[in-house]
């Protein structure tokens, strides 16, 4: 499997170098389909979409690349590049404190690594406590207490670093926002591809999305994609 993925990746890069961006994209999509999800892959898919002129999809994939590595300078550069070229001068949805912390922690270690580190510290703490009891040693209680506390903090950081599932991006050329979840509703907002928002509610093919300036409207879910996970809205 590893060899297959490497072959697909190499072929995709060669196609990209030849200017065959759609074919390169197909190769990268095949890598995604076998279960690979990482910064490099999503970044490369974003690049293919840029070359194909689909800035909405490109922005989505650069955002996805940053989910796995929020400090990736290449992805940050390309995302800035895309944002400069988007039609709507829309403010990005504001980040809540918990989201900011989540991104900050993910920038240091992955969610998985935080949990593993916390578990190791807590296990050490448990072993220390057992040893203290069984060996009848006069160990100061502050040591196991501190390790227990550190372990719990690390586990909490791991939980916070789990990406939030509300940010989404317009991937169609444009998307109308309605006053109610129906095309019969009044059109109140028109967004171009690449505009971002936060899902606050979903209902039968429609999503109530809050955009950066504080307004909300019902949009057709098929015109938007969540940054994390990449599945289509339902």
């Amino acid at each position: 499997m590893e060899q297959h993925i490497t072959d697909l990746s190499t072929a995709a890069k060669e196609l990209y170098d030849q200017g065959l961006y759609q074919k390169a994209l197909d190769q990268y999509e095949e890598i995604v389909s076998v279960g690979v999800k990482d910064t490099e892959l999503f970044y490369n898919i974003g690049n293919c979409y840029v070359r194909l002129g689909e800035y909405g999809e490109a922005k989505l994939y650069f955002e996805r690349a940053l989910v796995f590595d929020p400090s990736n300078t290449d992805a940050l550069h390309n995302l800035d590049w895309i944002n400069l070229r988007l039609a709507d001068a829309l403010i990005e949805p504001s980040q809540e404190l918990i989201e900011w912390l989540s991104e900050l922690f993910r920038g240091t270690l992955s969610e998985q690594e935080w949990v593993i580190l916390g578990s190791i510290v807590l296990l050490s703490s448990s072993l220390l406590l057992l040893w203290k009891r069984l060996s009848n040693r006069n160990i100061n209680w502050r040591i196991p207490f501190s390790t227990t506390l550190i372990g719990i903090i690390l586990l909490t950081v791991g939980a916070i670093s789990h990406p939030k599932n509300t940010k989404c991006i317009v991937v169609e050329p444009n998307s109308y926002g309605y006053s109610e979840p129906s095309v019969g509703g009044k059109r109140i907002i028109l967004l171009s591809e690449g505009s971002a928002g936060k899902i606050t509610r979903t209902q039968e093919g429609w999503s109530l999305i809050a955009i950066g300036d504080g307004r909300s409207a019902w949009f057709e879910s098929r015109q938007w994609k969540r940054v994390y996970p990449e599945y289509q809205l339902k």
Partner: protein, 551 residues
């Protein structure tokens, strides 16, 4: 009723459109008249396209209503004066008229076009020389790219009116520009006749291919007054105005190629030109800038010549130039200038050379290539340059660098790394297990301690540390602490405080250590009760440590 219906039908049948021509055989460029007549007043008339012919004048509309014996008749005529533009036999397409939704067509006309005049018409012959048209040229021979002025002149021998340009001259392989010109006329003698010379157009021509000047001739039409041969009520002769066409041929002008071989660096400039390089200043401070202008000026082919690029001096940031031009099309040619204005911003302090520049063009007056040179200049930058960055290397040498500016922007290239298969981990069970283990660890801490066998060993060690700490800190009761430790240890070994005699201790510890320990206890007791009289704390502690391990 039947009579009324018959009348209506018969009236409907009368509604028709008829085409007639004044001549069926005409000369090339010889005007003739085509008339369309109908008895309908309300129809919508549409003339044919006159393919292979050109309308000189018209349409002229006339209508006539007559009452004869109480019956009314109506007729309407549309008349066009046209000329043939090609030789041959042509069918003039029928005209159409739409009446009450019905489309009616006229008959078509067959016209034969021959070279020259078709027939001997006295009046036509008379009027043939009534006017002429000619194109006058400023030069008979020019170089490619050298401007040439053409003057369009009508020579009027008789009274004419309605002068119209039928066909503009269409010069090949030239750039032409209409000059600002006010029509002027004057009377002059042409041959043995007096004529009015009417200058009606002036153009500047710049040929771009060698050879001769070619193109489509100039054609104008006018109405010429000719006697009709009839007289009016007062006996005065009556005149008719008939259309006439005159053709002015393209003048014979030789267009010479530029001499070969062309010198290296030839700019394409042709004319009487000059190359100038201007500097706003030659000495600046670091926070000032210099404006440099590169200009081509004079008379020449400004539309095709190229201004040379600046050879940039070291130590300056050169911004994209601003382009200025002022070009006028005059009878003397294309005059004006083309200029690039550069902004030089000093980056470094020092003296810099603005390299020599030269420009090659073809001088049409001297008929040779000429090179104009702008000599090298020295630019002096004093004070601190704006974007200077000074570094010192290991040897203490100072290096001056300039800032790097971005000149473009693009996305970054693909990333290439090992891809990792994504696995959905469920950390919940794992985390709860670890937390449970920790809780267990803390839980066991609250279970009461059991007495353990080797508890005495740790107590022994604690006591030793206690003694050492008392001696290290020079505790006032250090000897008492040592004595208590020994007594507690003996108590653990089954000898009470009261039984710590030499015999008991020797029995317990043997002949080697027993007396020594007993002596240590006695020394401690003495030191405790007379601490000031005792010296040798360290010695006592060393002895304690040595014996303590054997107790």
């Amino acid at each position: 009723m039947c009579a009324l219906l018959w009348c209506s039908l018969s009236f409907g049948q009368k509604a028709a459109i008829n085409a007639s021509s004044s001549r069926t055989t005409v000369g090339l460029n010889e005007p003739f008249r085509v008339t369309y007549s109908t008895s309908e007043a309300n129809g919508q008339f549409q003339a044919p396209q006159f393919k292979n012919f050109q309308v000189v004048s018209g349409p002229y509309t006339s209508q006539q209503t007559q009452f004869i014996n109480g019956s009314r008749s109506f007729s309407k005529k549309m008349t066009y004066d046209i000329v043939a533009t090609k030789q041959g036999v042509f069918n003039l397409a029928p005209a159409t008229m739409i009446l009450d939704g019905r489309v009616m067509k006229s008959n078509s006309l067959k016209i034969e076009v021959i070279t020259g005049a078709s027939r001997g018409n006295n009046s036509a012959k008379k009027s043939k020389a009534s006017f002429e048209v000619e194109i006058l040229t400023s030069k008979k021979s020019v170089y490619v790219g050298e401007p040439l002025v053409l003057l369009f002149r009508a020579v009027l021998f008789d009274q004419v009116r309605d002068l119209t340009i039928l066909q503009q001259p269409n010069f090949e392989n030239v750039l032409q520009q209409q000059l600002d010109f006010k029509q002027a006329s004057k009377r002059e003698s042409v041959g043995n006749r007096t004529a009015t010379l009417l200058d009606f157009d002036k153009r500047l021509i710049i040929p771009n291919k060698p050879g001769t000047l070619k193109g489509q001739a100039l054609q104008i039409s006018a109405k010429v007054q000719v006697p009709s041969g009839r007289r009016d009520f007062f006996g005065m002769p009556l005149n008719n105005f008939i259309s006439q066409v005159a053709t002015g041929q393209i003048p014979s002008v030789k267009i010479k190629p530029l001499p070969s071989p062309k010198p290296k660096g030839y700019s394409g400039g042709i004319g009487d030109l000059n190359f100038i390089r201007e500097l706003s200043r030659k000495e600046v401070n670091g926070n000032e800038s210099i404006t440099l202008k590169i200009r081509i000026e004079g008379t020449g082919n400004f539309n095709t010549l190229s201004v040379p690029d600046l050879i940039e001096p070291q130590g300056f940031d050169v911004y994209d130039p601003k382009f200025n031009e002022n070009i006028r099309y005059t009878e003397r040619g294309v005059r004006g200038y083309k200029e690039f204005e550069y902004l030089l911003v000093p980056q470094l302090k020092g003296t810099f050379i603005l390299p020599e520049m030269s420009w090659v063009y073809f001088n049409t007056g001297k008929e040779r290539y000429e090179t104009v040179t702008a000599a090298a200049d020295t630019l002096v930058v004093a004070g601190d340059a704006t974007a200077r960055m000074t570094l010192t290397d290991d040897s203490g040498l100072t290096l001056t660098k300039r800032e790097v500016n971005a000149i473009g922007d693009d996305i970054r290239y693909l990333l290439h790394g090992e891809h990792t298969l994504h696995q959905a981990y469920d950390f919940k069970l794992w985390v709860w297990s670890v937390l449970g283990l920790v809780l267990l660890g803390w839980g066991v801490q609250i279970i009461p301690r059991r007495k353990v066998k080797n508890g005495s060993a740790s107590r022994k060690k604690e006591l030793q540390k206690l003694v050492e700490k008392a001696f290290d800190s020079d505790h006032e009761n250090r000897f008492g602490i040592m004595l208590n430790s020994l007594e507690e240890r003996f108590l653990e070994l089954g000898i009470s405080k009261e039984d710590t005699s030499l015999i008991e201790i020797t029995q317990l510890l043997g002949d080697v250590h027993g007396p020594a320990v007993h002596q240590l206890i006695e020394r401690c007791q003495i030191a405790q009760y007379a601490p000031n009289a005792f010296s040798g704390d360290r010695e006592l502690l060393t002895e304690f440590k040595r014996l303590w391990n054997n107790i």
